[in-house]
Each structure stands twice: as structure tokens, then as C-alpha cells.
């Protein structure tokens, strides 16, 4: 890996469609390289998160095959496609077998399709920590469509909703009844529900059950469509893309973000802010003022809470770094 690639040059090449530059930039992001933040900062156009599509659902529902079928349809219409496919890393957070792309093998030589695999590397929300920034770079590289596929999800992996404007929950017949779908928070995440493997017995029944479960929810502006697909044959894919477009139109026309998506984005900001504040707090505590604070705490002149409040005050009064 050539680390000394000039960052600006790398970014220009990425913007100009150089796939190797994109690939290398994604590695820098994924490895949390010190230069990586600069890459994302270099993205000067707003990254259209609302246009990204997230594909989530339980293991074996056919997410990768569905993504491949969606790519077929996009390519037939002349649209370029980037896919970020996330698979789980081993529990130690290092090794992983990333196998989603084997379902997309017919696109391997198509210059209009870019596929990148990522391990979760210890993240538990269904994506990797670097996924958000990687998606920003994929948008910056100029793809018409950006699709992110989560790991096979259970009931709590909701990160995708913060990074994709339209989330497609993929279910399959035989994967549990509608009560499973109702109790999992994942139904709340879905903007569109796909019942894949639509040729199998029980598919129509699952469609009906999911529709009934959705019917019991609070009324909302966006009525979650349920689409039956057979990703292997491509059946239902056009209907899915139509539903995605309808959801995009809805997002454009509706003011404000729906509750859950707002919540997830707020959580992301809080997590990032806490990380930044922690660094700043450490820095201040290493200063002479920090020494005084620590001594006051040690001598009992300040309670831990009072010391923390004073430190928080110091952080608040620190001048903000100027945006470049």
C-alpha cells in the first residue's frame, strides 16, 4: 500500500473515475488512516444520502442476489452502480470471509459496476464503522446508484437507516411468521419490504401476513409497500425499483425526517461528538489548568461532579477550529 499517495491527487483521480484510486481511498478510510478524514473533507458536493438504498434482512433471505438483480436493471437503463457489501468479521474483529460478491459475478467485468466488500471489524450495528464515510466516497466517485448491503440482520442492527435514504427489508418465506416481523425493530426501519424467493411455497402468505402486520401500525404518510420478488429470475425487480423511486419522491416532498431516521442520525452525531470531546478533555487535563483541577479533586476542594462541570466549561470556552 503506497501511503504517500498525495491526498489531493488521489481525490482528483477518484472524482475522475479512476477505480484504483477509489479502491485505495476506501482502504484508507477503512483502516482509519490519519489522512482519511481529509479525503472525506475533500468531498465538496453534498453527498446524496437520500438517494442511497440500503438492503437489509436476515441471513439467507437473498440480499446479495437481490442487489445483483437490481444492478442488472440499473445497467439495462444505463445507470452505473456502486455496491458496498458488508459481511461479519469474526468475534475478535479481525478475520472475515467476505462472500457477497459471488452473487454478483456477472458484473465483475462491467466498468459500470463497482463492488467493494467490507468486514464489520467489531461494529455491531449491521455495518462497519467506516461504512458511512465509504458511502460518501462512492457518491463522490460519481455512481448513479449507490447500494449498501448489511450483514444478515436479526432484530437490532439498525445502522443502515442512518446511511441510506431508502431501506429495503428483505424477507423470505419460512423465515418466521409475522409476529417475528412485528416484534423486531427492523420493521420500523423498513421503507419497503421485499418478500424474496417469491416462487417458494408460503411466499404469498408471507406477503399477506406482512401487509396485515403493517396495517396494525400507526398510520403514517408513507405506506410501506410489500413487493414479492424472485431475485434469481429478476421477477418483481421492476416493481421494487418503482417503489424505491416512489419513496425518493416522497422524501423530497415531505418536510423533516421521520422519527426513527432522525433518532439514528442524532445518535451518530452524539457518538462522534463524544469522541471529539473526549480527545479535547484529555488535552485540557494535560495542561496546567488541568493539573490544578486534578489537585483540587485530590484535596477534596472539588467534588468529581464539580470538577467535571469545570472541565466542561473549559471545553465550551475553547475556540473552535476554523473550517478550512
Amino acid at each position: 500500500m503506497r501511503v504517500n499517495d498525495d491526498l489531493a491527487t488521489l481525490f482528483q483521480r477518484l472524482r475522475a473515475g479512476d477505480r484504483r484510486a477509489l479502491s485505495r481511498a476506501l482502504t484508507l478510510i477503512e483502516n482509519g488512516h490519519p489522512q482519511a478524514a481529509g479525503l472525506v473533507d475533500a468531498v465538496d458536493q453534498p453527498s446524496d444520502a437520500a438517494r442511497r438504498v440500503g438492503i437489509t434482512g436476515p441471513p439467507g433471505a437473498g440480499k446479495s442476489t437481490l442487489v445483483a438483480a437490481m444492478a442488472d436493471a440499473h445497467r439495462a437503463a444505463g445507470r452505473s452502480v456502486a455496491v458496498l457489501a458488508v459481511d461479519p468479521s469474526s468475534p475478535d474483529g479481525r478475520g472475515a470471509i467476505l462472500g457477497d460478491r459471488t452473487r454478483m459475478s456477472r458484473h465483475y467485468l462491467d466498468p459500470g459496476v463497482f463492488i467493494r466488500s467490507m468486514g464489520t471489524r467489531g461494529a455491531l450495528g449491521g455495518l462497519s464503522d467506516a461504512a458511512g464515510e465509504a458511502l460518501v466516497l462512492l457518491n463522490a466517485a460519481g455512481f448513479d446508484e449507490v447500494i449498501v448491503e448489511t450483514v444478515g440482520t436479526g432484530q437490532v442492527e439498525l445502522d443502515v437507516t442512518g446511511h441510506a435514504g431508502t431501506v429495503v427489508l428483505t424477507l423470505m418465506p419460512g423465515g418466521g411468521d409475522s409476529v417475528q416481523a412485528m416484534k423486531s425493530g427492523i420493521l420500523e426501519v423498513a421503507d419497503i419490504i421485499v418478500v424474496n424467493k417469491g416462487d417458494l411455497e408460503g411466499a404469498k402468505q408471507l406477503v399477506n401476513e406482512v401487509r396485515q402486520a403493517l396495517h396494525l401500525r400507526r398510520p403514517a404518510d408513507w405506506k410501506i409497500p410489500v413487493v414479492r420478488t424472485d431475485a434469481l429470475t429478476g421477477e418483481g425487480i421492476d416493481a421494487l425499483l418503482t417503489a424505491i423511486q416512489a419513496h425518493r419522491d416522497y422524501l423530497r416532498s415531505s418536510p423533516g425526517l421521520p422519527g426513527l431516521r432522525r433518532q439514528v442520525l442524532a445518535n451518530q452525531i452524539v457518538a462522534q461528538a463524544v469522541a471529539l470531546l473526549r480527545v479535547e478533555a484529555r488535552r485540557l487535563l494535560d495542561s496546567p489548568a488541568g493539573d490544578t483541577l486534578i489537585q483540587d479533586l485530590q484535596h477534596g476542594a472539588l467534588s468529581p461532579r464539580a470538577a467535571a462541570e469545570r472541565l466542561a466549561g473549559m471545553i465550551a470556552n475553547t475556540p473552535q477550529p476554523q473550517e478550512a
Binding site: 477505480r19 484504483r20 483502516n31 488512516h33 459471488t102 467485468l109
Partner: protein, 146 residues
């Protein structure tokens, strides 16, 4: 580059030989050794493998070839990598070997050739040594032997 990052390895098969047990065993073993293994599947063409290595920014390409055409197929893969500007990728080959094949691959610049009976930790160690310039720590290497 931080030393903590996982090494990324694309594994796959070229040509028509469909014996995929070896490549799956290797994929699992390298994963257990802490690497990110991108499984490219069977019957790939050399050009497809080069594109996968490029898009995945892999450090290593591992070929599993159980036909007799190890030298011929490896030559085409190396040519495809060079054509894609990926001449700095470490290529390792596992499968049927012979002194002639080892000689052929050596001429292609492929030093990591692993025949039947190879234990996976030695493959992992070869990759670590050639990608990072050093062997894995002893604790890390022995943890996967159990």
C-alpha cells in the same frame, strides 16, 4: 500503514476445475488467522480476478488450481494483473505441484506455492511475512492451531 489492519486476500479458482473444497478450507483458515478473505468463487477468468483484486484493494491473490494447467493458468492471471497495473500484488498458488510447476511459477515471480499436505498456518505465515515483512506474533499464530 497501521500494523493492526487485517491483510486482505482474494481467493478463487480459474479455469473449469470445480473442486472448491481446498479453496474453502484455505478461506476459513486465513480468516481464522485474522485476514479478510474475499471469496471470488469458481470458474473465474484472469481478467475477472484482476478486477476483483483492484476493487477490493487486496494485498494478496490466492489461486487454487487442481487441474494440470497450473503453470498456464497462473501465467495468464499474472499477465492480467500486470495489465491492470497490479504488479505489486502478492500471488500465492495452492494445488497440484511438481518440480516443473514450481520452476515455472518461480519464473513468474510466484514464490508461494503450496502443494497437498500444506498446513494452513504456514500459508498464513508466508503471507504475513511477505505482506508485512515480518512473521505474526507467536501467540497470534498458535491461537488457531487448536
Amino acid at each position: 500503514m497501521s500494523q493492526g489492519r487485517p491483510i486482505r486476500v482474494v481467493v478463487g479458482k480459474v479455469g473449469l476445475d470445480g473442486h472448491d473444497r481446498g479453496v474453502k478450507v484455505i478461506a476459513q483458515g486465513l480468516r481464522d488467522a485474522g485476514m479478510e478473505v474475499i471469496y471470488a468463487g469458481l470458474r473465474r477468468t484472469p481478467a475477472e480476478l484482476a478486477q476483483i483484486v483492484l476493487q477490493e484493494d487486496a494485498d494478496v491473490l490466492g489461486l487454487s488450481i487442481l487441474s494440470g494447467a497450473v503453470s498456464q493458468l497462473s501465467r495468464r492471471v499474472v499477465a492480467a494483473l500486470n495489465e491492470a497495473g497490479l504488479d505489486d500484488i502478492l500471488v500465492v498458488v495452492g494445488g497440484i505441484t511438481s518440480p516443473q510447476i514450481i520452476h515455472d511459477l518461480d519464473e513468474l515471480g510466484i514464490k508461494g506455492v503450496f502443494g497437498p499436505g500444506t498446513d494452513i498456518p504456514s500459508v498464513a505465515a508466508f503471507i504475513e511475512l511477505n505482506v508485512r515483512g515480518r512473521l505474526p506474533e507467536v501467540g497470534a499464530a498458535s491461537a488457531q492451531d487448536s
